[in-house]
Amino acid sequence: MSDMTHSLTHAGTALPADWRDLFALTKPRVMSLVVFTAACGLLAAPGHVHPVLAFASILAIALGAGASGALNQWYEAALDAKMKRTAGRPLPAGRLDPQTALQFGVGLAAFSVFLMLFAANWQAAALLTVSILFYVIVYTMWLKPRTPQNIVIGGAAGAFPPLIGWVAATGHVAPLPVLLFLLIFLWTPPHFWALALFVRSDYAAAGIPMMPVVAGETSTRRQILFYAIIMAVAAVAPWPLGYAGALYGWTAAILSALFVLLSAQVGLRRSAENDRMQPEKRLFAFSVAYLFILFGAIVVDHMWPL
């Protein structure tokens, strides 16, 4: 961290951090998917939750995700500086000092857990704590720099929000949110490896052992297809198991078939010289829409069953 540059005054006093940089530290784009899946988990749960408590619970999950993002960026500042995609972030760009980022992340994490405890229940607060610690310690500090399986196991951190949303509403875990957890868990590898295939040189430059860098392109492509097939099974499972209705079932079946088709296009090809990686970019973009639509469908199916 010693090579970080700070914005300084003539007296050597750092300028106060701009709030926009602190906001960027929370990875707002990732947070939108977290908020959406958490809200869906909460809305798909049985019973009624007071709107204020529902709002506060979702806010706590969003702040917890923001804290995880901030601590991730604090820890990876030196790596981010080596990658074109992340070099402009507040820490590697020198617009924010590491101490501020660390204090902001820890403070936000503690507050998010306290808010969840106050607005919902200790079970949801405990799950939120586990998800933050899992993302920061298990994924960011331990797995990511060591193994190409980082995304597979680390995907669990991103799979927590719908489970926390459900537990915030009910106080207990049930089969449907566990299946939703499983869905995001299995969705993460094809989603991130599609991205890793077209930003491979970035990861290689930073020394991060992402699957395409370590195991090679062919193996990554096969694994994308493999995970897409199991994910499709997990996505449709709530319907035959009786935890979701036909509306969700048909949506999941059609979209998952499309997901597998796009994954097959990626999995069964080889990139050429100066390849524009269109199938990989298409799969990555579709995977985001897929998750949004599927989680939307589970809520609609719960509220207005066919």
Binding site: T5, T9, A11, P16, A17, V52, L53
Partner: protein
């Protein structure tokens, strides 16, 4: 040559602008949280 961080010319206006915008934002956030905790308490009591 040392590895000293880059020295930028002191910008009093920028310093004050950032201080003001952070103070404003902190005020709004604290006000919002006070309201949120009030409504959470009401919801839990109800």
């Amino acid at each position: 040559m040392t590895d000293e961080p880059t020295q930028e010319p002191f910008d009093e206006a920028e310093y004050r602008r950032r201080q003001r915008s952070r103070a404003n934002l902190t005020g709004w956030i604290l006000g919002g949280l006070a309201l949120l905790f009030f409504f959470i308490t009401m919801a839990r009591m109800g």
